[in-house]
């Protein structure tokens, strides 16, 4: 058996047969989701930043305040880490499938909105976000199956 697979590997290396398309694993789907949870966190930082802008009389005063600088730096940091991981993760997925996962940020925006900004949750939002999740799972099943 070992020899058999060795032969296939040899043929693949020498392009005698087409190597199988690399399938994503379940682990990769979790990484993909984690990267968009991270991305949705940048929205938290951006929202705090914009609130800081409104809290001061002048823009100039605002952008040199700790209230602005810390969340602004956090947003940049989060987006930089997101970009680093994204570049790795899109190697393993069809772009259309990887990008569709972004839609789950709707769900996370409800979670952050509720727990961090005390925003109200309405049923339409929850139902909509859950429908989106079903769609994303169907998309991902194409990549992992």
């Amino acid at each position: 058996m070992g020899r058999f697979y060795g032969t296939i590997a040899f043929m693949q290396e020498n392009k005698l047969v087409k190597p199988p398309k690399q399938k994503a694993r379940l682990k990769d789907v979790f990484i993909l989701q984690a990267v968009f949870i991270l991305f949705s966190m940048s929205h938290i930082a951006i929202k705090i930043t914009s609130e800081a802008l409104h809290a001061f009389d002048s823009i100039f005063e605002a952008i040199f305040s700790v209230r602005f600088i810390i969340p602004f730096a956090a947003a940049l940091f989060i987006l930089a880490v997101y970009a680093l991981i994204w570049q790795q993760v899109i190697k393993r997925f069809d772009l259309s499938i990887a990008y569709a996962n972004k839609a789950t940020t709707l769900l996370w925006s409800i979670v952050w909105g509720f727990f961090i900004f005390n925003e109200e949750i309405n049923p339409a939002k929850i139902i909509g976000a859950l429908i989106v999740c079903v769609g994303v799972i169907i998309m991902n099943s194409e990549a992992v199956a």
Partner: protein, 111 residues
């Protein structure tokens, strides 16, 4: 057509092309990890994303807040088409079904 809708759709299209460039770059072999990120394609990709952000901001100024994410969801469709054109990604029935469900979920969310 409302000019702001057009600007928003332009932003989405630019962002979609930036993803294509990033994906193109991710498929290449580079000498070092740093080169994987600091190369003309990745820099162009993120540059375009910045341009798209500026367009989005302009669009925000003329559209109701909730309309912008709705317009941005057009990006999922554009990227599926670009994936087919540039990477020969198959548009399967399952992908279309997933996409239709995602889009309907987004409409329910913002209704």
């Amino acid at each position: 057509m409302n000019i702001y809708i057009l600007i928003s759709l332009t932003a989405v299209t630019i962002a979609s092309f930036s993803q294509v460039i990033l994906k193109k770059s991710s498929g290449k072999k580079y000498g070092s990890k740093i080169r994987e990120y600091l190369n003309p394609m990745v820099i162009t990709g993120y540059g375009l994303m910045f341009v798209s952000l500026v367009f989005s901001m302009i669009a925000f100024s003329g559209l109701e807040f909730t309309n912008v994410p709705l317009l941005e969801s057009v990006g999922y469709i554009i990227i599926m088409v670009l994936g087919y054109l540039f990477f020969k990604e198959k548009i399967t029935l399952r992908k279309l079904a997933g996409m239709a469900i995602i889009l309907s979920g987004i409409f329910v969310y913002y209704q």
